[in-house]
Amino acid sequence: MYKLQLCLRYLRTRWIAMASIVSVMLGVATMIVVNSVMAGFATEMRERIHGILADIVVETHTLDGDPDAAARMQEIQEVAGNYVEAMTATVEVYGMISFKYRGQVITRPVTLIGIDPETKGAVSPLVTNLTSFTSGRRMGLALEDDANIGCRVAGVLSGSSADTGGIHAGDRITGCNGTAVQDTRELASRLKNAVDQKAIELDIIRDGQPLTLELPVPRPTWNLTADAREHRRAIIELERRRLEWNQPQDIVPAGGTQAAPQPTPPDLNTPPGSQPSPLTPPPSFETIPPPARDFSTPGTPAPLGSDVADLSDPLPARVYLGAGLIEFPIEDKKTGEIRIERMVLSGEDVRITTVSAGRPPEPRHFTATVVDVFKSGMSEYDSNLVFCNLEELQQTRGMIDPSTGDRAVTSIQVKLKNFEDAETVVERLRAAFPAHIYSVRTWQQKQGPLLAAVELETGILNILLFLIITVAGFGILAIFYMIVVEKTRDIGILKALGASRRGIMSIFLGYGLALGVVGSGVGVLLGLVFVHYINQIEDGITWMLGRKVFDETIYYFPEIPTAVNPLTVGWVALGAIAIAVLASILPARRAAKLHPVQALRYE
């Protein structure tokens, strides 16, 4: 009984012990914060990888691919049909992309992925990774930052989903899917992380009245958005007029109305007066008519200078480019602000080089129109991937059997109804598909090294942080030693009153335990509170320092992601308590070993 009493009494009267409580507390809090943020980042990253890769990928080892995709998908359906929710066939091949930027030709190596947007969108989120969607353009919204609150709707394309959804020009968007947004960048992050891939909810303020509107998430297509079309029209017009100037005899204007030869060379910076500027959205956005034709069936070429097709018609080959391929940040010399420079805009054409199927592989070139820019937040993907329409890629690479019309694919991506079944499905598919031709892997297995690296990183960080708590442990040891020395006489008194060695020892062990429990308890609380308010804290630090601590243009996260794992918290707390108890063993043993008479004589 006296053990408990003295233990608590010492805890209350020895303020120096608070120092060790604080160090334990800080160690525990730091560990929880770091672990939560790391786990948050890892989870976010896994989600992003998962978003691109689909649950299970069946790949051929050869770039020639599997000659009959339909048959293979049929087979998968037979083997594991009741687990499968959706499937899509893709062609993955290496290639190069070239484009002109300020007079120079830039060439980059890429991974070319031929997809069918409809089925690919069913397997993994596709449209939310496209900037045409996150900027609101795909829904027909022209947005601009508003100094007051939220982002202002500058214009709404008539007939677009925003128009039918009831958004008017002049509305202010203040929230998306229940979270507040301050500016277009935040709205973009919210849209990108929209969990429900079917519809989004926008909180708007119209004439001072708050409203909530629901918009359908557009389905991924190979069509250009209205302003990308406008941009394309403008640059093609510009190009044509330049050609006319250089070789006025060769070009016979078919229509003859719009392209009369001009006596002076056209100014490259100002397109013809009737056309809007290619790089800025047209001022009369609301008045732009919807696309005249539906381009859901690509393949009809739009010959240059022909009066039959619209000037803005994209080429049959179309691509989504990874943002990292065509973007780079530049610092404004005057203001010091960093902005993102885009080398290629949607609606422009790029040149793609790849290899044909069959032996020997031969280089194949084609020109494709950039329909959209793809931004997943994983730089490995964003600076490497080019999504292309599957049919065109198959055609260019000679993957279509001329006799049967069978189309070859190199991989089939499968989405499961329940990812927990992945192991079973992988096993079944491995049994069904010969291993020397196909590899069957989950997305995790495919990204094994990266995920393992993150885990290793977390592990090392944890070890280092735990060393901090160990340092706190040594602090406890030193302070306890002092307390034992200070309490020598009292220990002698307790012995004279009949306290046993074990009793004395347990006073100090209990003391250590109490320090550990209090320290890690407060530390856990502190850590959890910090994690909970981490974004507010970040805002506060940003405000204090005057510059952004956590730049979302670098990390692509709207806010610092966190994930609290109760098991980790439990282990950290337990570890800290264990260290506190371990550190008190030595002083406790010393106390227990004190000779009662010598302790009593001690003054």
């Binding site: 009984m1 006296y2 408990l4 009493q5 003295l6 009494r9 010492y10 009267t13 006489r489 009292d490 002698g492 008194i493 307790l494 012995k495 004279a496 009153l497 009949g498 306290a499 046993s500 060695r501 009793g503 000779h595 009662p596 008479v597 009593l600």
Partner: protein
């Protein structure tokens, strides 16, 4: 004066055996004694030592402190040990109270050797049979007077038993504190008490476990003579009323002669034994 509530002793029998075998009545069944009736008057329990030798070692140097001390106290006796400073009085008391082990010789209690018991048993025996009083009081500074007084019982009982009996314990403690005249100081810390009050608190603490022998090491050494006399009167009345065996170390002749018997230590030996008045 009210009948003191009997405080149940610890159930463990081993420690008690050292005492109980010699006496016919087991301690546990000790009846609530009527007032004025000494607790253990009928029992001839004796504490003693035979050929006790104790020396301290300082490197190669051996400092003999006790060189063959034979001593015996019978139950209810008030013995005082006097002698020059450094003659080994405190050491003798410590050895008798099992706080220290002798190099040679034996400590007996009721005919049983107790100095060679295992440590846990000696701790238990000390808790139950000896009450210590020190010159500089030795109260625990973090605890209040009441908590200090009940400390021996807190050590004796497990937490569970403590809680189930805390009422009886506190009642008894208040009674004893009342008896030593500190009823108005129950909630005070030792630092808020005078020397005499602290010594009374120490006496109350020594008494609460119902010990058989009170070992007092210069209980009046730090007090002025009037306060010392008060303490002596308290001890004398305890000895008389409750027939408590007291061994008291002092070098004050006037204090020493208030005991039944005086043992004089010199150079580690018992020099003279005076039968006091």
């Amino acid at each position: 004066m009210r009948t003191p509530q009997p405080i149940p002793r610890d159930a463990s029998q081993q420690a008690r055996d050292a005492w109980a075998t010699a006496t016919s009545a087991p301690v546990t069944t000790e009846p609530a004694s009527p007032p004025q009736q000494p607790n253990r008057s009928e029992k001839a329990s004796r504490l003693g030592c035979v050929a006790l030798e104790k020396s301290y070692r300082k490197g190669d140097l051996v400092i003999p402190v006790l060189r063959g001390v034979d001593l015996e106290v019978t139950s209810g006796e008030f013995l005082s040990v006097s002698g020059q400073s450094g003659s080994g009085k405190s050491t003798l008391l410590h050895v008798l109270g099992l706080l220290d082990a002798p190099n040679v010789g034996e400590v007996h209690c009721d005919g049983r050797r107790i100095d060679n018991l295992t440590e846990p048993k000696r701790d238990e025996l000390r808790n139950q049979n000896f009450g210590f009083i020190f010159q500089s009081y030795h109260l625990l500074p973090e605890l209040t007077l009441l908590e200090n007084v009940v400390a021996p019982l807190a050590i004796r009982f497990s937490t569970l038993r403590w809680w189930s009996q805390r009422k009886a314990i506190h009642e008894r403690a208040s009674e004893i504190i009342e008896k030593v005249g500190l009823g108005h100081r129950i909630k005070h810390r030792p630092s808020e008490l005078s020397g005499g009050e602290m010594q009374r608190a120490a006496i109350a603490r020594a008494l609460i476990g119902q010990p058989r022998v009170l070992l007092a090491d210069e209980p009046t050494g730090n007090l002025d003579s009037a306060t010392g006399q008060e303490i002596m009167a308290l001890l004398a009345s305890l000895n008389e009323v409750q027939q408590l065996t007291i061994i008291m170390v002092t070098h004050d002749e006037r204090i020493a002669c208030q005991a039944h018997r005086i043992v004089r230590l010199a150079e580690g030996r018992v020099e003279t034994v005076n039968q006091a008045a």
